[in-house]
Symmetry: C2
DNA sequence: TGCCCTTCTTAACCTACTTCAAGGTACTGA
DNA sequence: TCAGTACCTTGAAGTAGGTTAAGAAGGGCA
């Protein structure tokens, strides 16, 4: 099912059931959680050819704690759970495709946990620069700040420090 | 392939290739990373009926950054990548089993990232108590501290604070 | 029983990061 | 062209959590 979204629109809100797994054809999305102090924390972004959705809510039929918002006008292919099961029945080869998809997400998540637990903000910033250089210009600073787990104010300082160091060396 | 390990033994060291995916029949393992200050950070534990290994190294044939150590005498079933592929060929139904396994790991990793990014040490401690009550007595405090991302010293304070609060209410 | 070794706790001090407040910059649209 | 609004930066002051150092409390083993 093809769906279009405008910048600013939400395709998932906390408390809802995540009924669609979405393949992004065009545009950009962010997935975030709102904490008890009403601060937003970006968990993931999605650009062209990425999937986005809350797997926990989608597969386990529970309500989601996450929000997904479009931040560049977008076109996505949305698949329901029933759809997906039918696809798998009629085409068992997809099993291994989905298996790899989950495996890769899992590996990326592990790396993320490693960097959150094992390094400070400065090196998380460096990691981000190295891992996602192609998306930098499409992401507002505040989104990156939230992704690496710092405030926009502190992110500003990180950037300054980073560029001064790389200039010096 | 059945393998036995004694408390303290390593089954994977940073820099090696992870050649086995291990299903724990008995005993306990921890997987951790060592940071640039030689501090250890526990990423995961594994008890009876859990799988443990570094999926990134195992599947992508790269060296690992992780260490896996046995901390209760253990018995595991170890599967190589070739084994696993043979199993999948001869029994395609396993595809969906593995798919679900990865999916669940992914969901758990997401929850972990959420709690690292979106909440403070006190509530991460509470989350841990609620999520893994059955393993508390098998885990030294320092391992839990490292898992939730604090020092043993600060963990001590967290515990004290937590029990004082729950006594008061 | 007593000793060593590891784990846990406490307290004083330190630092990475946050909060708050203010001002600057740059799109966007009438 | 200008105003409005979102975004970014800077600095001062505050706080969660880290570091260091020391003592207390187990637990295996001679």
């Amino acid at each position: 099912m093809l769906r279009r979204f405008k910048k600013g629109q939400y395709i998932l809100n906390e408390g809802e059931f995540c009924r669609y797994n979405n393949f992004v054809l065009q545009g950009a999305f962010r997935m975030f959680i709102v904490d008890e102090n009403f601060k937003e924390h970006n968990l993931q972004f999605a650009f062209n050819n990425w999937w986005i959705g809350d797997p926990k809510s989608f597969f386990n039929d529970v309500t989601t704690r996450l929000n997904i918002q479009c931040f560049e006008n977008a076109e996505v292919l949305s698949v329901t759970k029933a759809n997906q099961e039918k696809m798998l029945e009629s085409c068992p080869e997809l099993n291994s495709l989905f298996r790899e998809k989950f495996r890769n997400s899992m590996i990326r998540s592990y790396d993320r946990i490693l960097s959150l637990i094992g390094s400070n903000a400065q090196s998380r910033y460096k990691d981000f620069l190295e891992t996602y250089p192609q998306y930098l210009h499409r992401l507002p600073n505040q989104y990156i700040a939230s992704y690496i787990g710092v405030t926009p104010e502190f992110f500003s300082k990180l950037k300054k420090e980073y560029w001064q160091q790389s200039k010096a060396s």
